[in-house]
């Protein structure tokens, strides 16, 4: 049997007045059955809808015709509908546009900011990873003696691959810059070389063509390439015939076999294309660590089982190859556990907490505002109650109003949140978020904003609602005088709200001052002398570029000479790694004299590096042009190195055994006894901390490298050097790319960009918090002064001085501020410990920061109270006494 349309029936149920409802719907159903019989079900349903609208229109018009007043609420006790609530709420809000506007803006900003931060938290921390069964994906590392994670050597990886029984697929990979020739254009692309099983580990299929087949990572079969969707779109215009086309990568022809799906993590990662990783004969070594590995656990294999299996393999390798693998183990991490950097996780948590507190603060302020407005509406409520509206009914009416406001705020908040999210995305460096993170405003963010809207509506609506429900009928009906009892309870409620506001602002402000102080400390760190005069540029060279290290030596010698000759260049240097970009290599080492083993960073530089950077030499000498191939191999160690290994001894003249780094090859040469000739101050290699990580410097003449960076000190504006620099390099080799031209100051700026953004956001949150707290204090004090006009007038008449009256008001404000600060500080001391990981050079309980926050808040609240206090002092006793 055909049933009437359910939605229409539901609508009627809601809209028709109760008396008419049942009979009208029953009649409609009865006739509907007849229409179905005569005309069929589809026309009958249409008919039903037409009748429904006829009824709704008529009853709605009838409702409007009647005089609508608050009395209406009481006129139908129990028989009210939601539409009525809403209609009345709309009318009430229209009557006070200022309040409505303020409330909606506060909510829109609060909900918007919270949703924007939430979209990041959701994208980075909450969303499931976009891979098939991501819990089975693991990262594999070698575990060096005394360390935890290290890249992997070729032969060790191959042993893992052949001997493990726990992985469904395993893949090694390394990233590289390649030159690509396609469509008659030559360009530099970011590529990865990966084992054939790479995409199977992630469980990602291609959208076009195919991924690598097993065996394609063998030499001779590896001339194939897979493109990311984005790269395919950008570089090949989404050419549908791309599969099967041949492009040249590092001058080798490669056939495009597949394109990855759109919007996949591979679109957001750094690599643009992938080639199979086939090991050349020179790469089959056990002591050169260079690979990263991922694997997919077989179904049912636990992480513990995998670790046990790999530990056994590591023990075997260590036993068989003690020269390279003594005491080396294997570390396994589950992908979901290591994907998000702990600092990023904490940043997001702290920001969400901050913005959430701000929203709570906004609600408290609105509750306060609504309470003040409740005073003005008291008469209205009393009339309503007198006409028979129940207390529950009045509470519901007030709540409907606040939820209506927050719904409007939520809708606007979603729009403003979207804009804030896009803004934040633009401000964040692209590498900062994991490539798996999808930042979007979708139904999840929508549901979150909707939940917030309802929650905030209830939160700031409850206090005034219950207060309205408790109106003292008899007292308020007496038109002239306000009774003390009703006022006192409302005043106490508002005092409590102000204390809460001050406490919450105090917490936010404490967090903000800590972050600001920490950021100022970071800004104060000098990575180099005059870093904005130091220009850097990358000179990328493929391994195939030089057939012998001597060619590289000659090339870079020429480069340095030419560049030093550019007018405006006061100093120039070459280096294997720029400041804040980490050590280019990490090397195990041994001391010839004591046979102590250890490890340190290793950097090849031209002798002019320390001077160009402005790094002071602490002891001994620096590197010189006399330290060449064939002369005594020498190194300069940094302060951290000297302190770690030569606590009370003189490091100069001691010998460190480190294997030779062979340029362009995946192997290490024999151990070289490096003589320590100098100690240099710690360079900021990995971070801004002055402790630094231990490292050694060798001359590029003694340890040649193929890919180096240039460092130029300019006498004036370094941007004028860019064109001459490029010209000089291209004069030597027109095909040599010159990449990433920027100053050291810019490198540092990018390094601290996430900290800057976080500090700014928190600063803005707390500035708003401060403003809201000031408005709260001001509102409460003004109200209190207005209420006490009579009393103050009497005091003035009896001879109280202006100062005493100002003091009276200020004392009240000071009391509220004091209590709020005490609560806020206690909370701050408990909560800021949680921020420790985000702070640089500042303790979480830093008394200066916390004290500054408290002082600022106290000052602002007393200033906010001073204005109403002055008003109180100017009250004319005659006038005040006449009022009543």
């Amino acid at each position: 049997m055909t049933r009437p349309p359910r939605a229409a029936a539901w609508l009627l149920e809601r809209v028709l007045p109760r008396g008419a409802r049942d009979a009208a719907i029953g009649d409609l159903n009865e006739e509907f059955a007849a229409v179905v019989r005569d005309a069929g079900s589809a026309p009958a349903r249409r008919w039903y809808w037409i009748q429904t609208f006829s009824l709704i229109r008529a009853f709605a018009a009838e409702g409007r015709r009647r005089p609508a007043a608050l009395g209406e609420i009481s006129a139908r006790p129990g028989g009210d509908t939601m539409t009525q609530d809403l209609r009345y709420a709309l009318r009430a809000l229209r009557r006070s546009p200022a309040f409505t506007l303020i409330a909606i803006s506060v909510l829109a900003i609060g909900i918007g900011a919270t949703s924007a931060i939430f979209s990041f938290v959701d994208g980075v921390l909450l969303r499931p990873l976009p891979y098939r069964e991501p819990d089975r994906i693991v990262f594999l590392w070698e575990r060096p003696p005394g360390g935890s994670r290290n890249v992997i050597s070729t032969l060790n990886y191959l042993d893992w691959q052949q001997q493990n029984q726990v992985f469904e697929s395993i893949s090694a990979g390394t990233s590289a810059s390649m030159t690509m020739a396609a469509n008659g254009e030559v360009s530099q692309v970011r590529a990865s070389r990966v084992s054939a099983g790479y995409f199977r580990v992630y469980g990602v299929a291609t959208t076009l063509g195919r991924a690598f087949s097993p065996g394609e990572d063998q030499p001779g079969k590896n001339n194939v390439v897979v493109l990311s969707y984005r790269f395919w779109q950008q570089r090949f215009g989404g050419d549908p015939g791309i599969v099967g086309r041949t492009i040249a990568l590092d001058r080798e022809p490669c056939v495009v076999i597949g394109v990855l799906p759109a919007g996949s993590p591979f679109d957001r990662g750094s690599s643009q294309l992938w080639r199979p990783l086939a090991f050349g004969p020179g790469e089959l070594t056990r002591d050169y660590h260079w690979l990263r590995a991922i694997a997919r656990l077989k179904p049912g294999i636990t992480l513990e089982a995998a670790r046990a299996n790999m530990d056994a393999i590591a023990a075997r390798i260590s036993r068989d190859y003690p020269a390279s693998n003594k005491d080396w183990g294997i570390t396994i991490d589950r992908l979901p556990d290591v994907l998000v950097d702990p600092t990023l996780r904490r940043s997001l948590e702290v920001l969400l907490a901050g913005v959430g507190l701000l929203l709570v603060l906004g609600c408290t302020n609105l509750a306060n505002l609504a309470l003040a407005r409740g005073t003005a509406r008291e008469r209205e409520v009393v009339v309503c109650a007198a006409l028979g509206a129940s207390r529950g009914r009045i509470v519901r009416q007030f709540l409907t109003e606040s939820v209506l406001l927050s719904a409007a705020g939520g809708a606007l908040g979603l729009a403003s949140g979207y804009m804030m999210m896009r803004g934040l995305q633009l401000l964040l460096p692209s590498y900062y978020l994991p490539r798996e993170a999808v930042i979007a405003m979708d139904w999840r963010a929508f549901a979150f904003a909707a939940g917030l809207a309802i929650g905030t509506g209830l939160l700031f609506g409850l206090a005034p609602a219950f207060h309205a429900g408790r109106v003292d009928l008899a007292g308020s009906m007496r038109a002239s005088s306000r009774t003390a009892t009703a006022d006192r309870s409302r005043r106490r409620l508002r005092d409590i709200l102000v204390i809460a506001e001050i406490a919450v602002s105090c917490l936010l402000l404490a967090g903000a001052t800590l972050l600001v102080r920490s950021f100022l400390q970071m800004r104060g760190v000098d990575v180099a002398r005059d870093p904005d005069r130091l220009l850097t540029a990358g000179l990328l060279t493929p391994d195939s570029r030089f057939s012998h290290p001597d060619q590289a030596r000659a090339f870079f010698r020429t480069v340095l000479e030419r560049v030093q000759g550019i007018p405006g260049v006061t100093a120039a240097a070459l280096t294997a790694g720029l400041p804040l970009e980490g050590w280019p290599d990490g090397m195990p080492l041994r001391f010839a004299e004591s046979n102590v083993r250890g490890g340190a960073g290793f950097k090849s530089i031209s002798p002019s590096y320390f001077n160009t950077l402005g790094l002071p030499l602490l002891r001994g000498r620096g590197l010189t042009d006399q330290d060449r191939k064939g002369t005594t191999p020498v190194i300069v160690v940094n302060d951290a190195f000297a302190k770690r290994y030569f606590e009370n001894q003189d490091p100069l003249g001691k010998h460190v055994l480190i294997q030779e780094i062979v340029p362009g090859q995946r192997r290490l040469g024999p151990e070289i006894p490096w003589q320590i000739v100098g100690v240099v101050a710690n360079e900021r290699t990995n971070g801004l901390s002055p402790q630094g990580s231990r490292g050694v410097y060798s001359s590029i003449e003694q340890t040649p490298m193929y890919g180096l960076s240039l460092l130029l000190r300019a006498s004036g504006d370094p941007s004028f050097l860019v064109a001459p620099l490029k010209a000089a390099i291209h004069e030597i080799d027109p095909e040599q790319p010159v990449t990433d031209i920027r100053t050291v100051a810019a490198i540092k700026d990018e390094f601290v960009a996430p900290d800057r953004l976080r500090t700014w956001l928190f600063g803005v949150f707390s500035a708003i918090a401060l403003l809201l707290a000031a408005v709260g204090i001001y509102g409460v004090m003004s109200y209190s002064v207005a209420q006490r006009t009579h009393e103050i007038g009497v005091r003035a008449a009896l001879g109280a001085s202006r100062g005493r009256i100002v003091g009276l008001v200020i004392r009240h404000a000071a009391l509220l501020t004091g209590v709020g600060l005490a609560i806020g500080m206690a909370a701050a001391i408990a909560a800021t410990r949680w921020m420790a990981a985000l702070l640089f050079g500042v303790q979480p309980r830093d008394p200066v920061s916390l004290g500054a926050a408290a002082l600022l808040l106290a000052t602002v609240s007393l200033v906010a109270a001073y204005v109403p206090a002055r008003r109180a002092a100017r009250i004319d006793p005659i006038h005040a006494l006449r009022v009543d």
């Binding site: 029953g26 159903n29 006829s54 008529a58």
Partner: protein
């Protein structure tokens, strides 16, 4: 407030509805009344207008209503039967009489217009 005696105390549609209730007799519930207006009035009326008018007449005390269980197709919702109360009848009669007096002597003219 001063009470005025209106010439036509009922509106046109109210008269139609009251007459339809009388015509439907014992079975005067919503659908039946609508049917009467349709057939005898020769006019299609909006359903909403009828129910609103019934409510209004009820509120003014011109009609009385009782509810009785209806056939199962109504989904358990009762039928509401209307009867015209004496004061409603009196007003209807007055309205009709007024119309009648206005019409006196005009039969021919009306018939041919």
């Amino acid at each position: 407030m001063k009470k005025t005696r209106a010439l036509l105390p009922l509106g046109e549609f109210e008269m139609l509805v009251l007459l339809a209730i009388l015509q439907a007799g014992d079975g005067a519930y919503g659908s039946a009344i609508l049917e009467q207006v349709h057939q005898r009035g020769g006019r299609s009326v909006a359903r909403g207008a009828l129910y609103v008018t019934l409510e209004r007449l009820d509120a003014k005390g011109y009609v009385a209503s009782r509810t009785e269980a209806g056939p199962p197709v109504r989904g358990g919702r009762p039928r509401r039967y209307y009867t015209v109360r004496p004061n409603g009848l009196a007003l209807l009669r007055r309205s009709l009489e007024a119309l009648g007096r206005m019409r006196e002597g005009l039969e021919l003219g009306l018939k041919h217009s």
